[in-house]
Subunit: 270 residues, 2 copies
């Protein structure tokens, strides 16, 4: 490991979609920012004080580089940045899954850059009222810069920082985001939904749905396809939905294997 960059003064953001913009707004007061969007190379016009459009080389020359592209675009972003990264720079991603991006960064980034996988557990909707109290997961992958970065996120941005591993993250988030997005997708397709005779719990369900329904389609696909634990979660959700359907249809809960109703099924039938 070469000597780490002690003080981060410049941050390069690769990817300038909804999340890249949100991040830039909150980092701008503290750092010199350079941004580049590989999906829109022709229109790099992020106006704002201290925010400079750049090419991949310009972004890669910063002390800290954030991959804010969709998860499937991470390998191409790494390839574009790789030749220009400084020794001791810190590279982190912000994808909603961590195992895949962690592997890609570890395999393809030069040995003299530090790596952290991060997942800000919020988006433009939930961050409308500010960042304070929102959560971010950090998965240290290479180098020792996690504590310094966690301190900045905690004390300056007021985020709640969870330090974890990529696998523990993906396992928990498969449920958190998998269930939220699955339920929201179903509810949105049931519109128009009631607005008048609503209960407090239904109102909360609607608020949860509003928060994720405008997320970019790649977020849902990353959650469902790129998270290795997502399939088990949704299989369980769909199996329980089917069990509930049969119970309400027949008043009994047959098990998939044809055996007697499970204890859970009997409890449900009470």
């Amino acid at each position: 490991m070469s000597s780490p960059i002690r003080t981060v003064t410049s941050i390069g953001i690769m990817g300038f979609g909804a999340f890249g913009r949100l991040m830039a707004r909150h980092l701008q007061p503290h750092f010199a920012l350079r941004v580049c969007d590989p999906a829109r190379p022709a229109e790099p016009d992020p106006s704002g004080k201290g925010l400079r459009p750049a090419d991949a080389a310009g972004v890669a020359a910063c002390d800290l580089v954030v991959l804010a592209v969709p998860v499937p675009a991470i390998p191409a972003a790494i390839a574009a940045l790789r030749p220009h990264l400084k020794a001791g720079a810190v590279v982190l991603d912000v994808g909603s899954v961590k195992l895949g991006p962690a592997r890609a960064m570890q395999e393809s980034l030069p040995a003299d850059v530090e790596i952290i996988g991060t997942h800000p557990l919020f988006g433009p909707q939930s961050a409308r009222g500010g960042l304070a109290g929102l959560k971010i997961a950090l998965c240290p992958i290479r180098g020792g810069s996690t504590p310094r970065i966690a301190a900045f996120l905690r004390h300056v941005l007021k985020l709640r920082v969870v330090v974890t591993t990529a696998d523990a993250h993906d396992r928990e988030v498969a449920m958190v985001q998998g269930l939220t997005h699955l339920i929201a997708k179903i509810l949105v397709r049931m519109e128009p939904l009631p607005r008048t005779m609503t209960t407090a719990s239904f109102d909360l369900l609607m608020q949860a749905t509003e928060m994720v329904r405008y997320d970019a389609p790649n977020v849902f696909m990353a959650i469902e396809r790129a998270n290795p634990h997502a399939k088990a979660v949704r299989d369980r959700f769909f199996a329980l939905a089917e069990e509930m359907r049969l119970f309400l249809e027949n008043g009994d809960v047959p098990r998939a294997d044809g055996a007697a109703p499970s204890a859970a099924g009997r409890r449900l039938a009470v």
Copy 2:
């Protein structure tokens, strides 16, 4: 119609489960209350100032009588009260469906009592912070006392009152409560659910679940079995869940009739 009782001073509550108790707590400062629980005739011990245990005859002798028994127990409660009701008394129920109870009350209550179907769109969980701002639906069925009762609920208990018909109520609430309880039942069965790396939208989903998970089992059964619109809602929910399952399994959305994917399916696939 005989002359209505102009001023309600006594209220009889038939049924003293979780909701009957909640109601008694909020009505006690304003009325003389008599309560009777047909499911627990041996233990009528509702201590509290102004709250008198009574038999069905005592409850029926009040100016206003509330049926707070489970929906399937309403006919038996009416039969017990019927011989003792005062001319001009107001009878109302608080069930989470309205068409069935409305029909039962209309058919079996004496012609000289007034009838209102009500559905307080809250329960012990959502009312923990007080009643102000919570909603109640009123369905006038016989007589003209709805405006007076609505005024009390609005100005004294600070509830939001929705005056509607039994059918409009059941149609809307089939979605509101049907979806909330269905989703909550599935989520509870997926426990343990994550507590650490949660998003704001997942936290809302969990709050919605907590609010209904301890509801009496008869609430869920009333919603699913006694509401004539519930089956259409859950059929649609389960069909959309199945469509989503197939989409995530195969990357395409076959329709039940074997035709090409629907427009909704194609949009989903984008």
